[in-house]
């Protein structure tokens, strides 16, 4: 099929030539319509999505006028600034010293919830906190063993039940055990679930209610983990999860790949959920605070 061949060659070319093209296009040249289109394409290629990209471009056009920007280089810098500003300030994870702090980690299957918990456990252990993890995924095969290994690596406490147990019961036990042990930070892992499965979402709601009931005002963060390779569906994920649990922040994982996670711009525009931390690898130390400026910068790299 000739169509395939054409397509294949085309995509290869696009990928390699795209950034060079943008560079050539933007440097020193006067601003024209084509430049805006190329920038829009760039955003779309990074999963920002048509709607969010259109919003950014609208702001860009307005500011170009206001600030009398004339050339392509200025245009690019301005777009970076707009993106970075739209994502707001750096927002650290909330922790209140001297009390029990609970982080609930949620998301669809395979995005990196358990790994992120391992990394967080290590980070806060190193900061001198007493940390416990709860194996709230009793569904996926060997999920609690996986968390157990992370708990060992980080040297933190673990609460887990047998496979197939009620996750709400695990959380109940964990909260009480954390109290008894005077734990500073309890990290609750949950099973991956697709947001369109209402029974699984209700189970999550139940976990949250248990936490609220057994440890009022201790649920400090509800972190939605989003895989950077995810496309537009992440927007729906954010919306649906936020309806069940009060999502306080996004963890953007797998940024060590070639995907840049542009969809979080759209999530932030629509849901006003800040991105708090990022995953940049599979090692326990591969966790960083999210930096809006760096993130915006990365969209234009390579």
């Amino acid at each position: 099929m000739g169509f395939f061949q054409k397509l294949k060659a085309g995509i290869e070319k696009t990928r390699q030539g795209f950034m060079a093209q943008i560079d050539a296009l933007l440097s020193g040249r006067k601003i024209d319509e084509e430049m805006y289109e190329e920038l829009e394409d760039l955003l779309i290629m990074h999963d920002v999505g048509v709607t969010a990209a259109t919003n950014l471009l609208r702001d860009l056009r307005r500011l170009v006028k206001d600030r009398k920007i004339l050339d392509g280089e200025g245009l690019r810098l301005l777009l970076k600034e707009i993106i970075s500003n739209s994502l707001g300030e750096k927002k650290p994870l909330r922790l209140e010293p001297g009390t029990l702090n609970i982080f609930l980690v949620v998301g669809v299957n395979g995005v990196g919830k358990t790994t992120t918990i391992g990394k967080l456990a290590q980070r806060y252990k190193e900061q001198g906190l007493k940390v416990m993890v709860a194996a709230g995924d009793t569904f996926r095969a060997a999920a609690s063993s996986q968390l157990e290994i992370w708990a060992e690596r980080a040297g933190v406490y673990l609460v887990s039940h047998a496979d197939g147990a009620d996750p709400a019961a695990v959380v109940f036990d964990a909260v009480h055990s954390a109290r008894a042990k005077k734990i500073d930070l309890l990290l609750v892992d949950t099973a991956g679930r697709l947001h369109n499965k209402s029974n699984l979402m209700q189970e999550l709601g139940k976990i949250r209610r248990i936490i609220d009931r057994e440890a009022e005002h201790s649920l400090r963060e509800v972190l939605l983990v989003v895989d950077a390779t995810t496309g537009q569906n992440a927007l729906v994920q954010a919306k649906e999860f936020a309806q069940i649990v009060p999502v306080t922040g996004i963890v953007l994982t797998k940024l060590d790949g070639t995907a840049k996670g542009g969809i979080v711009i759209a999530i932030n525009q629509e849901q006003k959920i800040p991105i708090k931390i990022i995953g940049v690898g599979e090692k326990i130390s591969d966790l960083r605070d999210f930096d809006p400026q760096e993130f915006a910068e990365a969209l234009f790299e390579k």
Partner: protein, 441 residues
């Protein structure tokens, strides 16, 4: 919720349908919306461009412009090209003439390889194979144990070497073990890895060289965005893949990544994963995927499930009713009730035409309780009312509400939903009359 491709196309269609003839500008307008919708479905930007151009080229052809129903023609072309791009027909696993057949699963982290390994083993055992699962993910904590648990659940042996950190050796010995035990199918689960990780990509090449798999299957998450083309291209050029498994299609993503991957690799999508349970691996049907991406409702799947859930005659009746729009509230109720036997409600409802496309229907996600309400409302109607809901006026509504212990609003809502479902079916069947592929347009 997202408005899917189908919604967009239907809106576009409506505009086109009102006219006798199309100008080039009409087509350009329609194509702009097609482009937008495809991008929202995560089809790669470059693929979208070429796709839209191909469709446009065909659409501007004379027979379309002279056709009496140009709008339908365009949708038909979009659907046909989509199917073309997704692959002509269903592919299956090629079984080696000299056993064992060796399959190797590869892909990014978190794509669902381990689960698909279990599913594949189960599905191929059903067709008479004797699988051995080989656990080569020595990196992710408890990955081997995960496969072992699945093996136990399925009563299928799992080969692993505890303490061994060398996936190449494990794969090789796994294959030898299969030959020793007379197992005719080896399924190798590998660790997830980034396509840009040279060291780990080399490891896959080494495994390939050591076991000479008959098929290397790339496992891809259906929710993947624009990066899908980079991933697929890298795995394909490094390893030479033979097919693709698209996972997590039981979610509500449009799954445009599937299209992109097929477009860049040219390799067939062989299976789709439809759930976390191990019996949810399904053969890939390009026509259904095209319909899904278009948000047209997966009518074919629905009918097939209907056939499985009850007898063929009833399924044919249902199909005919959908086509001839002699679809009454009784059928609606009947269908909702039978739907319960077919599997998770949300999944089945997603396959009913109109549910994907209608906003109101989308909010209507009945659970058991809603179904009870609907039942009660319909049972409170006379037979005449059920067959001809048009006659239900204000006072009848009050009566029905009182009789069913619901409110007039509930009755109104149900009637509206039903009317919409009926309209969708009508639109669908009108399009269906044209082509031989009744339900695809």
């Amino acid at each position: 919720m997202f408005s899917g491709l189908g919604d967009k196309l239907q809106a576009t269609l409506k505009k086109l349908r009102g006219k006798g003839k199309l100008t080039e500008k009409d087509i350009s307008d329609a194509m702009r919306e097609v482009r937008m919708a495809l991008l929202e479905a995560d089809v790669n930007l470059k693929v979208v461009r070429d796709f839209v151009n191909a469709v446009k080229e065909r659409a501007i052809g004379a027979d379309v412009l002279e056709s009496l129903t140009p709008g339908q023609q365009i949708v038909k072309i979009v659907h046909e090209e989509l199917m073309n791009l997704l692959g002509g027909s269903t592919s299956r696993i090629a079984i080696a003439s000299k056993p064992p057949t060796v399959l190797m699963l590869v892909g990014l982290q978190g794509a669902g390889k381990t689960t698909q390994a279990g599913k594949l083993a189960l599905s191929l055992r059903k067709s008479g194979r004797h699988p051995l699962l080989v656990a080569c993910d020595v990196y992710r904590p408890a990955a081997i144990e995960q496969l072992q648990v699945l093996g136990r659940q399925l009563d299928i042996p799992v080969f692993s070497i505890s303490g061994n950190q060398n996936p190449v050796q494990i794969a090789k010995q796994g294959k030898e073990e299969a030959m020793r035990q007379g197992r005719d199918l080896v399924i190798i689960d590998t660790a997830g890895r980034l396509h840009v990780d040279e060291k780990l990509m080399q490891e896959l090449k080494d495994i390939k060289a050591a076991v000479m798999p008959h098929e290397i299957l790339l496992v891809v998450d259906a929710m993947t965005g624009q990066d899908a083309v980079n991933v697929a291209e890298s795995f394909n050029s490094t390893l030479g893949i033979d097919g693709v498994i698209v996972t997590k299609l039981d979610g509500d993503t449009r799954g445009g990544a599937a299209l992109s991957i097929k477009a860049v690799t040219g390799k067939p999508i062989k299976f789709v994963g439809m759930g976390e349970k191990l019996d949810t691996l399904e053969v890939f049907h390009p026509d259904r995927m095209a319909s899904r991406i278009l948000g047209m409702g997966d009518v074919l799947s629905l009918i097939e499930k209907a056939e499985q859930a009850y007898d063929k005659k009833k399924a044919e009746e249902l199909e005919k009713k959908m086509r001839t729009q002699s679809f009454t509230l009784e059928d609606f109720l009947d269908q909702l009730q039978q739907v319960r036997n077919m599997g998770p409600l949300d999944q089945v409802l997603g396959m009913i035409p109109g549910f994907a496309a209608s906003k109101q229907l989308k909010d209507f996600q009945p659970d058991e309780k809603d179904l009870k309400h609907i039942e009660a409302i319909i049972y409170s109607m006379t037979l005449g009312e059920r067959r001809k809901p048009e006659v239900i006026d204000g006072s009848r509504r009050k009566r029905i509400a009182a009789g069913s212990g619901t409110s007039v609003q509930d009755v109104n809502r149900l009637l509206k939903q039903f009317e919409q479902a009926r309209k969708m079916m009508k639109g669908l069947s009108e399009m269906g009359k044209k082509g031989k592929n009744k339900f695809s347009f």
